[in-house]
Subunit: 580 residues, 2 copies
Amino acid sequence: MKASQFLISTLKEAPADAEIVSHKLMMRAGMIKRLGAGIYNYMPMGLRVIRKVEAIIREEMVRAGAVELLMPVVQPAELWQETGRFDKMGPELLRVKDRHGRDFVIQPTSEEVITDIARQELRSYKQLPKNLFHIQTKFRDERRPRFGLMRGREFTMKDAYSFDRDAEAAGKSYDAMFAAYCRIFDRLGLEYRAVAADTGAIGGDRSHEFQVIADTGEDAIVYCPTSSYAANIELAEALAPEAGRQAATQALALTPTPGKSTCADVAALLGLPLTQTVKSLVLATDTRDEQGNVVASQVWLLLVRGDHDLNEVKAGKVEGLKEGFRFASTGEIEAHFGCKPGYLGPIGLQGVKVVADRTVAAMSDFVCGANQVDHHYTGANWGRDLPEPDLVADIRNVVAGERSPDGQGVLAIQRGIEVGHVFYLGKKYSEAMNATFLAEDGKPRPFEMGCYGIGVTRLLGAAIEQGHDERGIVWPVSMAPFEAVICPIGMDRSEAVRDAAQQLYAALQAAGVDVLLDDRGERPGAMFADWELVGVPVRVVLGDRGLKDGVAEVQGRRDAAATAVPVGELVAQVKARLQG
Amino acid sequence: MKASQFLISTLKEAPADAEIVSHKLMMRAGMIKRLGAGIYNYMPMGLRVIRKVEAIIREEMVRAGAVELLMPVVQPAELWQETGRFDKMGPELLRVKDRHGRDFVIQPTSEEVITDIARQELRSYKQLPKNLFHIQTKFRDERRPRFGLMRGREFTMKDAYSFDRDAEAAGKSYDAMFAAYCRIFDRLGLEYRAVAADTGAIGGDRSHEFQVIADTGEDAIVYCPTSSYAANIELAEALAPEAGRQAATQALALTPTPGKSTCADVAALLGLPLTQTVKSLVLATDTRDEQGNVVASQVWLLLVRGDHDLNEVKAGKVEGLKEGFRFASTGEIEAHFGCKPGYLGPIGLQGVKVVADRTVAAMSDFVCGANQVDHHYTGANWGRDLPEPDLVADIRNVVAGERSPDGQGVLAIQRGIEVGHVFYLGKKYSEAMNATFLAEDGKPRPFEMGCYGIGVTRLLGAAIEQGHDERGIVWPVSMAPFEAVICPIGMDRSEAVRDAAQQLYAALQAAGVDVLLDDRGERPGAMFADWELVGVPVRVVLGDRGLKDGVAEVQGRRDAAATAVPVGELVAQVKARLQG
């Protein structure tokens, strides 16, 4: 490609609404262009990256035995009503009526349509296993779209769906996709981690997120550097302290803590470690009649150590909270605790269910709110000052440095950006949509399904969050819009430079290098800045001075300086750097 | 690809709603699957064809210097309001509101968005010419979607837009796209014709449709076999008769024609040729005030020869009808003609504007309605029995056999399916959206634009309408989902067949042939029927009997019988047939 024939539009400044580095750099590099909130034109430079990502995904999906099809963007509501998602999903599902007033959705995902296809096309166990995928435009009407392609409204995803005869076969399909995803992210050249993820209401442990490691990532991922343990923060298990609960050494004392309503403030005031304090969180659950009216409510007190954070996903797995919970209202709190929030605690309660985190259950001589404004208790002890908790459960986020659940070391925490997800669906959709095949015994049986997504456009943002410096994007070679760029200096006035540039351009093309010749006639500084911003992995600079000595300058995107390379060795050098 | 790993779902019968052969065959061959009215899943077999078509289009667009980007499916209404199309377009424009109540459209085309990109990105004449294209999913909410991919609601199109500094440069861009389209349709292996098309309100003669020739086509295309003249029926000019008007030989006579209200019936009753009769069509135009209320109407009588058809596009170019016309109401007809339709004619009218087709203006001694029920005039003559017409114009469709407008022979008419369109837009969009660039003189000037569409999914239907027989689809090699299929007979019980099939499969793949190995274990008859239905160009049948003699059977999709070919020559034979 010659630059003069391409559309290059780099910007010195990122627009004001670009908050994160990948968004800023993609805008500045002219890869995307905003059309509306969360809706972007994929400009030629960005589309090249998307196509490279898609090609790698497609190759590895096919290698893993998946078959590509394409399901529509605009989907009739009927199928979404079969699974109940047409009503259940919130306003992020973009609904539209056609000219006849019929309901449709702009697809955010395609479980319904693929299950509909399977129930018609896959009739016998002999056709199984089958894995069908597509790469398609999707739409999710985010309340607050932001971060460019990272949380856009219109985006491109690959989604695959596997259909199997039984859970064992479904496990094999899952494993095959897991392996394919590893190959995909390896080939994309990204540093990533596959982490076990929560499976929500469906249950089972077959869900993994593929997280691109980046300090700016929204997700916390937990792993053990000395073992294979890795999970997202929602799932990573926090163990009880090994030592167990120590004997009480202090007496319970009502202690004035005027104006100190947080554990940190109380600990500071009392000169105690934060780990000696207990944090109280008040939830409520509702019982409803058949009309959906609330007929009774139960108030819950959840206790975590002062330096720990409640994990709402884990809380949602506690017996009694599984069907859904909410944070209690101020009215409910005052009715049950006789006190406003900030000074709540577990001592002297009536009719409140108390759930203690495993760590809290093992504490002694702890500090907690006294259910009295401006007061806390110190020296509180289970069994003596208050009854043992109704339930003890893992309801908090793990923290770095604690024991790994597999017993193989201590946990570390990284930030990550979720770019892929493999999920064992089981029979959720096949049963809802009566999608069955004839098993070997001649009887209809619902498919065991899995779904497997990769956010194609999101991957661009994630790769940039991982790979950038002060000059711009640092793409992995396999994702770069161009692998190499030739920057001729003074091409318009020097025949030698022009000839050398054209020859090198032809030679690199012949060698299979995806090369761009910058024939725009820009000054060297402007050229270099553009291609560093765009993130082309290898740059070759040709100028009269070097050519007199038979050399050109080669510089990798991460290199601090250029290397002089004899003209005859340029192709080999460029190829070597791309492979290295 | 091995059949066992693919998704093959052929049907014996087409669904009842499939009216035309391409729709029936695509459904039967399992290429598409209906999801809703005019909305289809592209199944793996069909998607392979789409991808091959897209690849050829993409290659030729890039070869012609166009640059690919991707514009969103969901587009903000604001841009569509700038050009007025948000309000002007009918219900075929699918409109949707997002969660905040803002208006969006599901794009049927992208003039607005590309013009918005151009006015931001293309700032100087130095960046011109530029041609930007994308291949994207589109939606048009057809009132009555039908014919499968031919008139669907969701479909895939390539659209390109050129931006030029002046009309001359725009003409060159147009020519380059015209040439690229010829290469594309040549490579697709289709019989097609590029025909001049009407440019509507924009004017100029720079519009061509690319029509795939098929007897079942919706469009009539006119061409001269002995010259390069070709136009669609809306545009093809009908010349006046060479001989001119003959002198009157008959007297005007009021003739009873009871119950005979059509020209054909009247001619039969009177024993006259249909070419002696004149057909009367009554139109009306309205004058409106600023509020849009009709303040006056004018009634028009359009006359074409009894065997000719009115061409409404041509009528719309007549002075006085350009601003829009409608067919007159029965009330208006009775008020102006004193007679109900069926016996209307041009004699004795007041306040009606009469437009005669060129042929009618040259007639003498003609038959026309008498404005009296059950009566016609015979022997009518211009100037003597009625005034010369107010206007003489070309307002009819040409018919086969008449003189070509270029004077180089006589016209022929074929049926065609429009699959591509190149169109010189001029400044329509750039002026409406104030899209300018800085010209060499430093002044802003609106872009000269062209737009260039190809209906990717429609092409599949058109190719099948052109290429099919009683057994199924006959694809051109470049569009076929697979180029060749290996059908091993008794693969499960014969090691020789199995080995030969695997070897041939590997050898054909190594030779670059897109080959499918049918390893499903189906009976020969079922295998053959499937691949004839799907339309694979070359079939190789391997069986024990032939292999004993060292031969296999090769049969092209159009061949009446198979040819025995030595096993060692199979690859060369298959390749030769694919190239032939």
